[in-house]
């Protein structure tokens, strides 16, 4: 095992700086972790296993993006032509705006809703188990099945949801013809599908708050809202960082579910970036433009995630 080397030295390394932590503890800003480059051996398996699937495909996509590829032996170098084409394509820009809008709506709905669900979730007894299992169910359904479920459920003729809107609410609803209906169907589907993730993470975070905090708040006569705002919410920062980042990444790259339900239509009402991208990559097999497209896409997601990550992890220090 590669770990062996660290193992031999590390305990002594960890024991040596024993006195400083007590001193450093006064100043919370100083990172108490000892410096030890041998820790790289512990990380190596992760780097190797991820790099195998991440780096080589990424390099290949970069190579695609500057060429017109017909086959490995027949290809033409085109420089940055595909990037120019993609960056100026009105269809790509439209899809970009649409995807951004979708992600914003998803975050604005799912994060507060998920936290609310977590706060309302039972904390004691058998109902905890039942609640956890039921809430988690939508997360465990393969994504194309989620699409299938909603494709049926939202249909006006054979689906309960679509039927209820048409016949009980009396509103004409047809997601295959009306763009707004299609958008709403995809949005509601995503909220249905992913709010449970936020709820589970927030619930776990809430459970980690020690009881004395609440007792203190109760003695002070704090209102439920004040307790939530000043005791619960700050302690949720960590889990909400995970939730916001995961939800942003996944909603910005949403593909399977809307593809099954609407196929990007009607027109291009629900044609998100990933759907357009697959149309170019898989449908037309234009590897060059698709490569350039996904690199620009990747760049944007990476920037936003870096900003989120930096803001959320540094604000608490």
């Amino acid at each position: 095992m590669t770990d062996q080397t660290t193992v031999a030295q590390s305990p002594s390394g960890a024991a040596e700086p024993a006195p400083p932590p007590a001193e450093e503890a006064k100043d919370a800003r100083v990172d108490p972790r000892p410096k030890n480059n041998r820790a790289w051996w512990l990380v190596l398996p992760v780097v190797v296993s991820v790099a195998f699937t991440a780096v080589i495909p990424l390099m290949t996509v970069v190579n695609y993006s500057v060429q017109d590829v017909f086959s490995p032996s027949e290809r033409i170098f085109v420089g940055l032509e595909w990037f120019r084409e993609i960056a100026r394509d009105p269809e790509v820009r439209g899809a970009f705006v649409r995807t951004l809008l979708f992600s914003a709506q998803v975050l604005l709905i799912e994060i507060p809703l998920g936290v609310a669900v977590a706060v309302a979730m039972p904390r004691r007894g058998v109902s905890v188990s039942v609640a956890l299992v039921l809430v988690a169910l939508p997360l465990l359904i393969p994504w194309n099945v989620v699409g299938t479920i909603w494709q049926i459920f939202a249909r006006g003729d054979i689906g309960l949801g679509g039927w209820a809107i048409n016949n009980v609410l009396g509103v004409n609803f047809n997601y295959t013809l009306d763009s707004t209906d299609a958008w709403l169907t995809v949005l509601v589907m995503d909220v249905w599908h992913w709010t449970p993730l936020v709820a589970l993470l927030a619930y776990a975070g809430l459970r980690s708050i020690p009881q004395p905090y609440f007792q203190a708040a109760q003695i002070d006569g704090a209102s439920a809202w004040a307790t939530f705002r000043h005791i619960q919410l700050p302690r949720l920062r960590g889990v909400l960082t995970i939730a916001i980042l995961l939800r942003f990444m996944d909603s910005f790259m949403i593909y399977t579910e809307p593809f099954v339900v609407t196929g990007g239509g009607p027109g291009n009402a629900t044609s998100f970036l990933s759907i357009l991208l697959s149309k170019i990559a898989v449908g037309q097999f234009d590897l060059g433009p698709a490569g350039a497209f996904s690199l620009l896409y990747f760049l944007f997601v990476q920037i936003l995630c870096y900003v989120f990550f930096t803001v959320l992890t540094r604000s608490g220090r």
Binding site: V62, N63, Q67, P72, F77, L80, A87, L296, L299, Q302
Partner: protein, 91 residues
């Protein structure tokens, strides 16, 4: 076996450059460990953070340039490098 990776000279040079940069940063880190400080970016960064931010910003400059103007990309590359260097030094 790896011909499906469709390598070209320019992309190979870019990746080689990145690899060299990473190695250089590691060696530099060994010689004088990085110090975190605050620059015009207003957040605490060490030189590795600034390298990452600089490279990403350079990519943004290139992408923005190609989306907007038909001017030479060499000019864009110059601007991108300037931005990256500026972030590296004062960021």
């Amino acid at each position: 076996m790896l011909d499906w990776m469709v390598w070209t000279v320019p992309t190979a040079l870019v990746f080689a450059g990145l690899a060299v940069l990473l190695i250089a940063m590691t060696v530099w880190g060994r010689i004088s460990p990085p110090v975190a400080r605050r620059g015009f970016l207003r957040i605490e960064t060490d030189r590795g953070d600034r390298l990452y931010i600089g490279l990403i910003s350079a990519a943004v400059v290139l992408a923005g340039w190609i989306a907007i103007t038909d001017l030479s990309m060499w000019l864009a590359l110059g601007c991108a490098l300037l931005v990256a260097v500026a972030i590296g030094i004062w960021g």
